[in-house]
Amino acid sequence: MTGTSVRLTGISKSFLGVPVLRGVDLELAPGEVHALMGENGAGKSTLLKVLAGVHRPDEGRVEIDGVAHTFAGPADAQRAGIGIIHQEFTLLPHRSVAENVHLGREPVRRLRVDRRRMVRETGELLEWLGEDGIDPTAAVSTLPVAQRQVVEIVKALATDATVLAMDEPTAALADHEVELLYDLVRRLRERGIAILYVSHRMREVFDLSDRITVLKDGAFVVCAPTAELTSEDLVRHMVGRDLSALYPDRARPEDLGETRLRITGGGNARVRDLDLQIRAGEIVGLAGLQGSGRSAVARAVFGVEPFTTGTVELDGVARRIAGPRGAVRHGIAFVTEDRKGEGLALRQSVRDNTLLVRRSALRGARSRVAADLTALLESVEVVARGEHQEVRFLSGGNQQKVVLAKWLAVDPKVLLVDEPTRGIDVGAKQTVHQLLRALAGRGVAILMISSELPELIGMSDRILVMHEGRPAGELPAGASEAAVVGLATGHGIGEVA
C-alpha cells in the first residue's frame, strides 16, 4: 500500500444561501494524523463530507496525489481511496465481521458468495492491523464497542482506502477503549495511511495528531504542527472573536429573589453529580459541547428523562417530577432545542399552539382565554397574518416567539430554554434576549442552554459548564470564551478565569 496525499484548496459550500464553508484549505500527507478542530457549527463535518463525496463543493479543488477530482458521490470518493468512519456505527449487528467488511461488495464464485474468501481477506486485514484477536466469523453484536470500531476501520480499508477520515471516533467509547483506539491510529499511521481526525477533545488531539487545522465559522484559521501549539493557543484560535452584540443589562444582586429551583446531587443515565440553584430573577447559563449533558439537564428537570438520584426543590419544597405533565403543573416550562419536532404542532394555528399548554395541562379558566391571547401575542411581538395562520408558514423567529407565548400563557416559575435563538434572524434574536431578561425581571428563574458562546456569556448571570455528563465548573457573569471552552473540553479554565 503506497501513501496518498490529499489537498483541498479554497473549498466553499453554502446550504440554502447560508455559507457553511468559506474558502477552506486542508492538506493531508501520507502517514500523517491531521486533527481538524473547531466549535460546533464551524464546518468540520461539512468539510469531511466534501472529502467523502457526500457534498459537492460550490467552489474549490479536491486533489488526490496531485490530480484534481470531482466526486459525483460517495462511491467516487471511495474509488479514489478515501474511507470515512462516521460518528454513528454503520454495521449490521446480526451479521458476521467478514460479512460486514464486504457488505455490498461480496466476492462471488460460481454464482455464490465466496464466504471462505471473505473470511480469509478479513482475517488478513485484521492481522495487518495487529487486531488478530477479532474472529472474522463472529457476529458484530457479540463484539465490544471498541472492536466494532476496528471493524468499521477494516471495512474502510477493505475498499483499499489510503486516507481515513474519522468523525469523533471516541464519542461512543469508554475511557479504557480510547487507549485501544490510540494504538490502532498509531499503527495505521505507521502503515502509511493518512488520517483526518475530527474531535472536540483537546487531550486526544495533542496525544495523537501531527498537525492541527482549526476552522471557525466556516473559515480556515490556522494550520500548524501540533508541537508548535499550546492548548491555550488552540482555544484562542477556536473562539477568537469579539463580543460585539448588545445584550440586555444583567440582574443586579438586589434584584435576585429566593431560590426557585434547587437540584442536589441530580443524576441519571446522562448526567451525574449535578448541583444547581437558580434564584428568582436570575439567568443561569449552561455551557458544554454537544453530548456533554447540557440538554440532558433540562430534559431531566422537565421530567422527559427524570433524575434517578438526587433531589429537586421548587420554591423550597422537594418535588418528584416524573413527567412533563407534572413539571408543567409545578410551574416549569421548557423551550426545547428542536422547535419543529418538539415545540410546535406545525399545521395548527398560532392560536392553537399558543393555547396548547394551557389546554393540555391545566383545567378551567377558559373564559379569560380570548382576552389573554391578544395581549400575550403582542407581548412576544409575534408577526403573523392573524391568529388563525398555521405556524408552519411563520419565520423561525416568529415560531420561536409562539413557543415562548405558549409557556407564558401558564405563568411559569422556572423556564428552561435550550438553544433559544438557533436558526432565527438577528432581530428576532434580540427580541428573544430581551424577553428572557424581562421574564427574569418578573421573578422567573431561567436556565439557558446555548452553544453560541457570545450569547451565553452576554445573557447569563452565572455560567455552569458541563463536561462528559458532570459539571466541570462554574464561572461568573462575563467570563471569557476561553474559560468556558477550556472547561467544556475538559482542559481546565484556560488562560483567564
Binding site: 467516487d76 418538539e342 399545521r347 399552539n353 380570548a370
Partner: protein
C-alpha cells in the same frame, strides 16, 4: 397583533367538499323529480345519517393520527345483538339500546387501549377487531341472524316527527344534528384542539403536558360509541342481516378523506368530514338516478379516495417534492463506457 372582528371562517380543506356537495345537490335537483321539495332532501339525509355519524366517529380517530377499520363490523354486531336480544319483545327495547351503545364504547375502549398501551398501530388493531367481530357474529348466528327488532327500536331509523315549516322530519336526521352540533362544539374546545394537535405532533403535545394516550383513547371510544349509534339507526332503516355493516368502514374513511381531513392526522374539520359523507351518499343517489349500475359503487369510491388524497398531497407537499433538485448529494451510477476520473 390585532384581534379582528369575528367573521365566519371555513377551516382549511372545507371549501372543496362544500363545492362538491352543492354541485351534487344541484345535479340531484336536475336529474330527479323527487328532489324538488324539502321531503326529497330529508329522505336523502335520512339515508345518509348513519354514514354521516360513522364519519364523525372516524374523523376523531383519523384526525388524531389513527384509523378505525372496525366500525363496519361493529355496526353488524350491534344490529345482530339487538335483534337477538329483543326478539320482538317491545319491553326489552330500552335496555338493549343501552347495551348496544355500551358494547360500542367497550369495543372502542379495547381498540384504544391496545393502540396506546401495547403500541400496536391502530390500523392493525382495528383490522384485528374487524375480523374478531365478524367471526364472533358468524359463530353466534351461523350466518343467519335470528330474532327481530321491536317497533320502538326501529322508530329511530325509520320514524319521523312533525316539525313546523319542514314537515315530517325523520328521527335519524334529528339525532344526526344533535351529534354533529355536539361534535363541532367539542372540536372548538380545548380537548378537541388538543386532539388535532396530537395528530400533528404528538411529542409537542406530550412536552406541553398533554395526555396523549388519553386523547387517543378518547377518539377510539367516541368512534366505537358512534358506530353503535349508527347501528341502531341502520337496524331500523335497513333491517337485520349479517351484511348490514359490510364495507362501511371504508365508506366512512372515504367520506372523511373527501372532507379534506389529512390521513395521518393534524388537519381537518368535523363538519367537512360529515359533508364528505353526505356528498358520498348524494353521489351514489345521483349515479343511481342516472342509471349507473350499483355494482360500480365501490369502484367509484375507490377513485374518490385516491383522487381526494392526491389532491390533498398536491396541495401541501407533492409539488415541492417533484421540483427538480440539483444533483449534489446523490451518486448516479456511472456510465461504464466513460472512464472514471480516477487514473
Amino acid at each position: 397583533m390585532k384581534r379582528p372582528a369575528w367573521r365566519p371562517r371555513l377551516a382549511e380543506g372545507t371549501a372543496p367538499v362544500l363545492a362538491v356537495l352543492v354541485a351534487l345537490l344541484i345535479g340531484l335537483a336536475i336529474a330527479g323529480p323527487a328532489y324538488d321539495s324539502v321531503e326529497g332532501y330529508l329522505a336523502l339525509l335520512k339515508r345518509a345519517a348513519p354514514l354521516m355519524i360513522l364519519a364523525i366517529g372516524q374523523y376523531f380517530v383519523i384526525v388524531s393520527g389513527g384509523f378505525d377499520l372496525s366500525v363496519g363490523a361493529l355496526v353488524t354486531a350491534g344490529v345482530v345483538i339487538a335483534a337477538r336480544l329483543i326478539g320482538g319483545d317491545e319491553s326489552a327495547t330500552a335496555w338493549v339500546i343501552v347495551l348496544v351503545l355500551a358494547f360500542g364504547l367497550l369495543v372502542g375502549l379495547v381498540n384504544g387501549l391496545i393502540t396506546t398501551k401495547l403500541l400496536v398501530p391502530s390500523f392493525i388493531v382495528t383490522l384485528g377487531m374487524l375480523l374478531v367481530l365478524d367471526g364472533a357474529v358468524f359463530l353466534w348466528t351461523d350466518g343467519a341472524p335470528r330474532g327481530a327488532l321491536s317497533t320502538a327500536f326501529r322508530q329511530f331509523g325509520r320514524g319521523s316527527v312533525d316539525v313546523p315549516l319542514l314537515g315530517e322530519v325523520p328521527y335519524s336526521v334529528l339525532i344526526l344534528l344533535v351529534v354533529l352540533v355536539a361534535a363541532a362544539v367539542f372540536m372548538r374546545g380545548g380537548t378537541g384542539r388538543a386532539l388535532v394537535a396530537v395528530g400533528d405532533n404528538e411529542q409537542a403535545v406530550r412536552l406541553s403536558g398533554g395526555q396523549v394516550d388519553r386523547l387517543r383513547l378518547l377518539a377510539f371510544v367516541l368512534s366505537g360509541g358512534l358506530a353503535a349509534l349508527a347501528a341502531i339507526l341502520l337496524g331500523g332503516f335497513a333491517g337485520v342481516s349479517a351484511q348490514v355493516g359490510q364495507g362501511l368502514e371504508f365508506r366512512a374513511i372515504t367520506a372523511v378523506v373527501l372532507g379534506g381531513v389529512l390521513l395521518g392526522g393534524g388537519r381537518g374539520s368535523v363538519v367537512a368530514a360529515t359533508a364528505g359523507a353526505l356528498s358520498l351518499e348524494a353521489l351514489f343517489t345521483l349515479l343511481n338516478l342516472l342509471g349507473v349500475a350499483g355494482a360500480l359503487e365501490s369502484a367509484v369510491q375507490g377513485v374518490i379516495i385516491i383522487a381526494a388524497v392526491a389532491y390533498a398531497s398536491l396541495g401541501s407537499g407533492l409539488r415541492h417534492r417533484l421540483r427538480p433538485r440539483r444533483a449534489t448529494t446523490t451518486s448516479e451510477p456511472r456510465d461504464p463506457r466513460q472512464p472514471a476520473s480516477t487514473p
